[in-house]
């Protein structure tokens, strides 16, 4: 009896790595059950906490009939496009800028005060300014996401450059590398892992800027959907919208991780 128990414990231990997916499913199921129980027991008014069934219905409606005159696919498309353009813009500008700041001290001293200044400002605070300068079209929305995301990218890039192991630099120097060659062939690839970390943090920031961006006279988008439904006290729709935002953010992070695994396969293996 004792022997079989011990064996079963070992067997469980051996299975654990593969069981991590199972753990997630169990946690989700328990959370769902608690949610269902809370709404059945009426711990909160149904307006504030709709049942899982009601949220599921909201999902079905969002994907078939839609809310506010169009289906959620339009909102998903609009939001994903805004996030993607804002985020890619931040990467396209932030990475080269961070590299220049790390390499040329003068550039660093010019840009850094602005960077430190915009970093603590919440994206919401830019909205009036962006509307006055760029109107109410797509541009101010994308710019808001870009401005919110770019500090993360710049700071990650600079720290990646600074984290280049001194030995890698010394090796290149003694082999006769010019400063330019050292930067292109040693510093740049050494900075890649941290740049990818910054991108993974940045995609989360981009999504969190989205709701603020869609406060600017939007009539579609997931941020707009959540706010519009919230004003109408359609909490089930709000929760469904939040779940979609979270899933899309997670999906985009997974895409970055896939790209990272291809471009920086040495990460964590040195």
């Amino acid at each position: 009896m004792a022997k079989t128990e011990r064996e079963s414990v070992f067997a469980l231990g051996a299975r654990l790595p593969h069981a991590s997916g199972l753990t997630t499913i169990i946690v989700l199921a328990v959370a769902l059950a608690l949610w269902e129980a809370a709404s059945l027991l009426r711990l909160f008014p149904p307006v504030a906490l709709p049942s899982p069934g009601a949220v599921w219905q909201a999902f079905v409606i969002l994907f078939t009939i839609g809310y506010g005159g169009h289906t959620i696919w339009l909102d998903i498309g609009a939001s994903a496009l805004r996030v993607a353009i804002g985020f890619l813009g931040a990467v396209a500008i932030g990475v080269p800028l961070g590299l220049m700041m790390a390499r040329v001290d003068l550039v660093f001293r010019i840009i850094d005060p602005f960077l430190q200044f915009i970093r603590p400002v919440p994206p919401l605070a830019y909205i009036p300014l962006l509307v006055v300068w760029f109107g109410i079209g797509e541009l101010p929305k994308v710019l808001l996401i870009l401005v919110g995301t770019i500090p993360v990218i710049i700071i990650g890039t600079i720290s990646g450059v600074k984290a280049t192991p001194p030995l890698r630099l010394a090796v290149a120097r003694t082999l006769g590398a010019t400063p330019r060659q050292i930067f292109n062939l040693v510093v740049l690839p050494s900075a890649l892992p941290e740049i990818f970390t910054a991108m993974r943090v940045g995609i989360g920031v981009a999504w969190s800027c989205l709701v603020a961006a869609e406060l600017i006279a939007a009539d579609q988008g997931l941020g707009w959907l959540v706010q519009y439904a919230g004003q109408a006290l359609q909490v089930a729709v709000v929760i469904a919208g939040i779940i979609v935002i979270g899933s899309l953010g997670y999906a985009m992070e997974l895409v970055i991780r896939l790209v990272e695994a291809r471009i920086v396969p040495w990460r964590g293996r040195e």
């Binding site: 890698r168 010394a170 003694t174 010019t178």
Partner: protein, 247 residues
């Protein structure tokens, strides 16, 4: 004379690390510089590499003063310092690639890969290799440059005892075939005597040369020589110098 270290001193702020060192290194010799921690042996090597400048005195190679790093004086460091985004073959060719991507002598690269016994591993990444293999790659990366002098800064210091012994035998055999000029810094007495044709022992605070003697052991070298009178005499002298230092 190929390498001349003439009355070189080095001070960091007010602390004198090296006290007037003068050494001449002949072509084709394997000079081992033995010393405890803080004797300035790595500082001396860094000055030869051009990574640091002497405070006073000068170092010349073929009459030319050394003012900075250069591919005619390649260094093998304690750790391999390979680039994880490059394959083994590309790591070895890294220095050659700096001279121009289009005319890398790949045949020479492949010859050196065979010389270090890593044929078949060309496309492996550094993190897929053991510590000893990585250090072989670092040596190969230096060798393909055909440097005037190969500088080695405790290249086996980070390896486990077993691998270190294998690598010492490997380097001995390699040197007996190519007879390059080598300056090899170490704190391991046996290693210093076994590898070198000439032994320089440094004392500390401030760093200075306390012993400079030829190693009169035959070739090919083997571990049975550690029991020979010549070996033991050098070892006794070296130990006396190293033991005479405050820790």
């Amino acid at each position: 004379m190929p390498i001349e270290i003439a009355r070189v001193t080095k001070s960091f702020k007010d602390v004198r690390a090296l006290d007037e060192i003068s050494l001449t290194v002949e072509d084709g010799s394997f000079v081992t510089i033995l010393g405890g921690s803080g004797c300035g042996k790595s500082t001396l090597l860094n000055m030869l590499a051009g990574l640091e400048a002497p405070s006073t005195g000068r170092i010349t190679l073929d009459g030319q003063e050394i003012t900075g790093p250069g591919p005619e004086r390649v260094v093998v460091f304690q750790k391999a310092g390979l680039y994880p985004w490059l394959s083994l073959r590309d790591n070895i060719a890294f220095g050659l690639r700096l001279r121009g991507r289009s005319n890398i002598p790949w045949r020479e690269v492949d010859r050196v890969i065979e010389l270090i016994g890593l044929k078949g591993f060309e496309n492996h990444r550094p993190y897929e290799l053991s510590g000893g293999m990585q250090q072989r790659v670092a040596i190969a990366r230096a060798l393909v440059m055909h440097p005037r002098v190969l500088l080695m800064d405790e290249p086996f210091g980070a390896l486990d005892a077993q691998t270190r012994e294998t690598m010492q035998a490997f380097l001995t055999e390699l040197w007996e075939r190519i007879r390059a000029t080598v300056i090899f810094v170490t704190h391991d007495i046996d290693e210093a005597i076994m590898l070198g044709t000439r032994l320089v022992v440094m004392g500390a605070r401030p760093g200075r040369v306390c012993l400079d003697a030829p190693v009169k052991l035959g070739r090919p070298r083997g571990w049975d020589m550690t029991a020979s009178p010549e070996f033991l005499e050098l070892k006794r002298a070296a130990r006396r110098i190293l033991a005479g230092q405050p820790h």
